[in-house]
Symmetry: C2
Subunit: 550 residues, 2 copies
């Protein structure tokens, strides 16, 4: 924030100085000048559409769909009293931010966006934000496409493969999902799914794989057919990050929940067909301070309880954890637990009884007792914790749930079993090198290792490598650099069903790949590459995803 | 609704016929005429202010603070697609409704409002509704008046009276509350409280009496002083119906909750001082259908659990029962249970474990399991159930919770104890005469009688009398007409602490009174009258209110 304020001051000073030199107008007129000039900004309809697309893809995640700010500052033409008016920042100021990023976590877009895109955004951000049209159950229903009805699907697998060891692999920027047979490492299919796919989830039986794109599109893949097949699609919002299935006994493969960024809502759908059943808006009172009513209250991570017929939905801007009861999916009740802002991502402890979630902008991990629908504790850990779902290990310190941090080089270990120091950070360690940027950690009940990536670290040596720690000693065992013939940034881990292989993605390079390590020897077992491997990111093993093994 | 539609059709037809006769303008212009004419409506600032006051007092309760409709239709100049535009109804149409009422439950205002008031309202309702200004914790705090700080209050009663048998008596239209010693029947004090006081509640220790007015003003009365004294005041909203205290062990006399109609919010206050601690807006998704997001979601009845640190708050327009956890009063969590619209008033069963509430516009009683925060059942009973808090009796049919109905002559008995027919209407009976209009029922654990009023029945013979039933046989035992020297409508019952007296109010007559009956003999024991007895309505015995004895 200091940098932003400084920049605003510099720009304003520069503009005023310039005006003083250039003419003799009155003081009042001079002060108005930058805004007057900015009023000339105009965009064609095509530019507005393209600007919106770029904005929703790359900016809305932090700055909000309506540009009112979220984890990042607002981007409004006339400011909001807290953050500078984009018309005052002007094209030069906006360009400085877009090209260089900020230490607060904004990426450097130069080299990722084209010059034309950057130029467009310096104008788009000075214009009034386009109005977000309503998108409720009728619009969802209109978008619904049941490609293969349930009656026309096979009743048992049409192949002898082991579905439980299938991997769904996201190729985010290509908007595709690959399904790979984890036993044979064969690519079974590459399917076009939503734009910028965010995550995959598997149905409780393991049969279906669901993807959700940042464009709000849900794609449902049936693994019973010889080649995995898309059987239904629906667009449940404009912008989204999460989808989850009903996992409680008696509700297997029954319902799906969608968490919308824009509109901010929870949609419940039939998990067999993707027919929408209900939409619940998530706007509401914030968890703290003056309990401000927040209109854009986006749904971050969602997980499904195995102990109750509920989903745990994390509402980012309000800091409210919603425990949503899906026994009546057309009319869901919920418990709202005030915690901390801004809720992001999280997962279960080893018992499945407790859910731990990062409030990343407030540097905290929140612990929820799921069956009792209660807040257990809010724990300070470090700068911008980013656990993904976190991972669970066990050593002399106890049962530990682990999170990495984006903002600093720190892995925090929280004791989850009862007794002294339960729900306390009992250990902190560093990964190799300096700086944060770790996105994911991973272990497995059968493994002796803890894997850590450094995807967003600016140092290419660090962001292309992964660290492996011994879970007993928590000492660094090995740093694995990208194997020969592979480059880019290492991101995200997934174990196979047996828990003896670790799959790592390499993306944002010339030679992207999925690298499979032997978890025991830490040797490369196989490298999956090919034209179809386009910047892979998240990987989801069917068995581990269904059973929340992490 | 049929009557309303018919009237609209008649008015429109009449207007068009009239236009056809009067000139030769084109069809298009003719159709526009009534609206064009209505555009001439203008009100002075004083008329707007007076109209708003009348509206908030007499109309907002059913038609909504922003005139968008609630239990009654919307009253908007240009309509809302469902209900007619007030500009189309015009002054004559509006006057017809205001003067005559409707069978759907709108009262006949002729004789209650003056001619000048009616004329003003026929114009006020055709103008744009005044904007409701924001009213949050800062505004509540500004209105807060701590008259006697806690340190300056006595630590024990300054008299030898029995506070547990005090009665707080509401004189709604006078905006006053009388405190009467139930042992001696002496009036101890008459205090100016909020405008149109709605209910009283007593703190868990019984020491404090809190009143809430329809103007949102909370007044706190200390009974320890020789004469009960106002020690704090605060205005927690523009329009309100409910207030309740924290009753769970360990939280006695700690917190107060306020339920706002306008703004639609729950405010939590310090029960010792009335300092506001937090405000939570109650707008949200409706419980049914397309789960429409409702901005004006008013808080109807609130009750305090004795088994958990929670309040049960009934959100009228959404049909959501909120179980609000007050353990962190600055940051309350809640469970929202979808039930039925529109939630109104209710009370506990005899165990205090279950809460029963009327969804009056959908003719249902909703049963909530409070400790388990679950919907138990939704029961169809009759037209517009109006239980107040209901009352509990016991006979061969089981433990029965009783509700009266506004819309028909029916008392419904719901079995609350486990076994066959639990949560079923096991008996229905009629009060004397015909028609509905019963507002309240009452019994007491030590009584053999069930008392019923007929306050809103149009027949003056019925609305001035009360029926007493035998709780064993459910046969009518006696109809008690107004005693000599007393007139008006009979309304609301309260038992004394011992459970052997019943207090009945007589209001809206020339000779209003509180009539005290011997509950055993059904003879008049005492009549409380005097200049200070101005249209008494609700009466709250300290012990019974504190312990939810009804």
């Amino acid at each position: 924030m200091k940098k932003l304020k400084l920049l605003i001051v510099l720009i304003v000073v520069a503009t005023i100085s310039f005006s003083c030199k250039s003419d003799k107008k009155s003081e009042v007129e001079k002060d108005k000048e930058p805004v007057m000039a900015a009023n000339d900004i105009s965009l064609t309809d095509v530019e507005m559409k393209n600007g919106s697309e770029i904005y929703f893809d790359k900016c809305a995640g932090c700055h909000g769909s309506s540009r009112k700010g979220a984890t990042g500052p607002s981007l409004l033409p006339d400011g909001d009293g807290k953050y500078a008016a984009t018309k005052v920042l002007g094209a030069a100021g906006l360009r400085a931010f877009i090209e260089n990023g900020t230490p607060g976590g904004m990426p450097e877009w130069k080299g990722i966006m084209t010059e034309e895109e950057i130029e467009l955004m310096t104008r788009f951000l000075q214009a009034e934000p386009p109005v977000i049209p309503p998108y409720g159950i009728d619009e969802i229903n209109s978008s619904w496409n049941l490609i293969i009805p349930v009656a026309d699907r096979p009743t048992k697998p049409q192949h002898n493969r082991n579905i439980n060891n299938y991997f769904g692999v996201i190729m985010r920027d290509a908007g595709k999902v690959a399904v790979i047979d984890g036993d044979t490492k064969e690519k079974l299919v590459v399917l076009k799914t939503g734009f910028a796919v965010h995550i995959l989830r598997t149905s409780a039986s393991g049969r279906y794989i669901y993807s959700v794109g940042r464009d709000g599109r849900i794609t449902m893949i049936d693994t019973y057919t010889k080649t995995p097949t898309i059987v239904a699609e629906v667009k449940a919002g404009f912008d989204a990050r999460s989808v989850e299935v009903s996992k409680f006994k008696g509700y297997e493969d029954k319902y799906l929940v969608f968490g919308g960024y824009s509109p901010s809502h929870i949609a419940i759908l039939d998990a067999q067909t993707l027919e929408p059943l209900s939409v619940t808006e998530t706007k509401g009172n914030a968890c703290d301070g003056d309990k401000e009513f927040i209109e854009e209250a986006r749904v971050a991570a969602i997980v499904a309880s195995h102990t109750d017929p509920v989903w745990i939905c994390n509402v980012k801007e309000t800091g409210m954890v919603w425990i949503v009861d899906y026994t009546d999916p057309r009319n869901p009740g919920m418990t709202q637990i005030p915690t901390a802002r801004f809720l992001h991502d999280g997962g279960f402890d080893s018992t499945g009884h407790y859910f731990l979630v990062a409030a990343n902008a407030s540097n905290k991990i929140v612990v929820i007792d799921v069956p009792n629908k209660k807040l257990v504790k809010i724990i300070e850990t470090g700068i911008k914790p980013h656990p993904g779902r976190g991972t669970n290990i066990k050593n002399d310190l106890g049962n530990l749930w682990v999170t990495s941090h984006l903002g600093e080089n720190k892995l925090s270990f929280i004791k989850t079993n009862p007794g002294e120091n339960q729900w306390t950070v009992v250990k902190e360690i560093k990964a190799s090198g300096n700086g944060g940027g770790a996105l994911f950690v991973k272990s497995h009940p059968k493994s002796k290792h803890l894997w850590v990536d450094r995807t967003l670290n600016p140092d290419p040596v660090l962001n292309s490598a992964v660290d492996v720690f011994d879970i007993k000693t928590l000492e660094l065992k090995k740093t694995l650099s990208a194997p020969e013939g592979v480059d880019g940034r290492a991101v995200h881990f997934e174990y196979n069903k047996a828990g003896n292989e670790v799959w790592v993605s390499y993306f944002m390079g010339e030679k992207s790949a999925i690298v499979i390590y032997n978890d025991k020897t830490l040797e490369v077992k196989q490298i999956i590459q090919g034209d179809w491997v386009e910047n892979p990111t998240g990987k989801f093993n069917v068995y581990n995803t269904t059973h929340d093994v992490y």
